[in-house]
Symmetry: C2
Subunit: 411 residues, 2 copies
């Protein structure tokens, strides 16, 4: 039968993740990958988790093997409330401010369903986190693509666009601004406190919600911790968090925190979407964070990533530093840096050369919902060894040289 004719508009328009396709060669022999943003599995506290899992299945089976509520495990919520109190000075949270999701990806998807219609507007950064793009794009809203600067999105640009919307009479269709506040994926940049405050001012002035996605905040190597946007404006910010980068991505646990009116609707959408997050993974994480100091536990991980970031910054300076017009970001945490090559480059085209040189990166085109900047790429430093980082950068430089030669670009 003609299956195509049975598909919805969403299904017909959907594209598979470019990253997924590109990363298929990541395991080729001899390949050095700066591609995936996956944590090193040896950083996961597997021994403790194994003991907890056995214990809760034996003794709390009436909870962990049974249907749970859509909102999520209150033991996990309590653990998270305690963490936010201790580390973020957020001390006003109740269970009805939270819903546990199947990873941050589900949170983004539910936010899209809960807030966006086709006629809605939302502001996102360019480049944008790929998972947010894929979630929001399914709702087919109007995007305001705000340039991402070294200290977060360009708020003057945003305000200018909001003014335009207001003049057109469409400002009431503007739903939210989406930001990754710390160590942006893919760009590696963070938003400073003054800018966070300014964003909150804009949110009040133009009456919109802020979606603050913060999967990497706990992975800070250096620099001062900055207050969450959520803590500056809890009545109009929805904070997304996840255990994927600090405990284990295989558990697929995220959390939506926000005004109870919004959280209630997100929960109702989730009820239709999957009824509930697995009870087992939730209780496992709950026990772990209640029995351990998560921030102490991840210190070795942070040290590991900081050292790799240092190696990466050193290697980039050494191998790429002399290229005229090149630019890259300096991450104070997280897993990524973002490289901008001279305008003439097309990193997707160059990818074939890099593959032959046995080095992988993610072409920047993956991270735009509008016309992409083709001369960009995302570089991750979390998985390769220090030696591989240096060698991989050398190979990347070779790829750049070969591409430049092919295209007649002067370096």
């Amino acid at each position: 039968m003609n299956y195509e004719s049975k598909l919805s508009c969403v299904a017909r328009g959907i594209k598979s993740s470019i990253i997924r396709e590109l990363l298929k060669v990541a395991n080729d022999p001899g390949m050095i990958s700066f591609g995936g943003g996956v944590p090193d599995p040896d950083t996961f506290p597997r021994h403790k988790m194994a003991e907890i899992a056995k214990d809760i299945i034996e003794n709390e089976y009436k909870f962990v093997l049974q249907y749970g509520t859509t909102e999520g495990d209150q033991e996990l919520m309590q653990g998270y409330i305690d963490l936010l109190k201790k580390y973020e000075n957020i001390d006003w949270l109740n269970y009805d401010n939270m819903v546990i999701t199947v990873g941050s990806q589900q949170a983004l998807y539910l936010i899209g369903i809960t807030l966006l219609d086709e006629e809605s507007y939302c502001a996102v950064s360019r480049p944008i986190y790929l998972g947010a793009a894929s979630a929001f794009v399914q709702r087919n809203p109007h995007f305001i693509n705000v340039p991402l600067l070294k200290d977060g999105i360009d708020l003057d640009y945003l305000e200018n666009e909001l003014e335009k919307l207001k003049k057109e009479g469409n400002i009431d269709k503007f739903k939210f601004t989406y930001v990754v506040s710390n160590f942006h994926n893919p760009a590696g940049v963070s938003m400073g406190l003054e800018k966070r405050k300014k964003l909150v001012e804009l949110a009040k002035k133009y009456d919109f919600l802020i979606i603050e996605d913060d999967p990497y905040g706990a992975l800070r190597f250096e620099g001062e911790k900055v207050d969450t946007i959520y803590s500056l404006a809890p009545d109009r910010t929805i904070l997304l968090n996840t255990f994927s980068k600090v405990l284990s991505p295989g558990l697929r646990l995220g959390v939506v925190i926000g005004p109870k009116e919004i959280v209630r609707r997100v929960t109702m959408v989730k009820q239709a979407a999957d009824l509930a997050t697995p009870s087992l993974t939730q209780r496992l994480a709950a026990k772990f964070i209640n029995e351990n100091d998560l921030m102490e536990e991840i210190k070795p991980t942070i040290k590991l990533y900081r050292e790799k970031k240092d190696s990466m910054m050193k290697a980039m300076k050494k191998h790429l530093g002399d290229i005229k017009g090149i630019d890259w970001t300096y991450p104070e945490g997280g897993l990524f840096t973002w490289v901008t090559l001279p305008k003439e480059f097309d990193t997707m085209e160059m990818f074939e050369i890099a593959k032959k040189e046995k080095v992988l990166y993610i072409p920047g085109v993956a991270f735009y919902v509008d016309e992409p900047d083709k001369n960009t790429m995302r570089i991750s430093f979390c998985l390769p060894t220090h030696e591989e980082i240096d060698e991989g950068m050398k190979r990347l430089r070779n790829s750049i040289n070969k591409y430049a030669e092919q295209k007649g670009i002067e370096l």
Copy 2:
């Protein structure tokens, strides 16, 4: 701020599950509940599962604690392929015919997103499984509500409606017919083989897909096993299955099986919806079904449910049998029977009386996407003891008597 103004049409239109609200009193002291369809947690193989969980977190942590693919764990898929070969004579499946979901609820939701637009048509039974209703309603399609008879949906009615659509020129917008083939929730009825074949004929004639939801098929107490609709027409049927009723609902594991062209699109929608089902729960189920004969394991559960069904049928005959015009279904498996009271009854209104009498059922209104039959109710026999079943039915009869008296209905 005015949160309502920020919501999407979907979020504004959504209603919380009636069942959820009603079941809040299920744990009141002395209450006998025929409400929830949750399995008895003592039937879960917790000891074996505890051992497996510990083992895989210790030894397969690079898989179980790490991101997985959107399609799902191939070890689980293989286990499921083997099960379907052994018990359903389905021997043509490959990995690309399958995607693992967060319970059947996610499968239903993804099907809705993948196949339905606002202008689409789909056929469902009346009454309909509540979870399917909530998933499909979010897409706001046109529903053809087909009466559910004692042997499945009324195919003459369906054909008549399809003819109408054809005459109107809308038949190409008809996407699928959704059926629960075995031991329907809420109605307890099953579709016989001849009717399955007839449905397949209609699907070919009018070119539509069949969504066959089969969460209860393995819980057959009596009667002959019937071929799945999927096995009769694998090119135009999507089979949904789950581990919730045969292993544990807390794992939240379902599976979509169907033509690879459709499965691929469902997978792409899932990628945006939650990236992947947790690796841990998938591998845990995989090990369990690969190391045990699932059908042997659930024999005690089936015996338990059969005995409770027998008690329920006996109690219904004893306490309700003399009511003129009453009707109920006889389930050969699953967890439910469906009661139709005389036309004058409103089971939602009567619920308040029943609550005082300390017996719970689910009013039928929960199971319609069109104008409900208010005189219906769902009765579940899986959780109460044999004594409670008899006592609960006595209380239900008291409630019926009191309601009849209040309303001046002659019994």
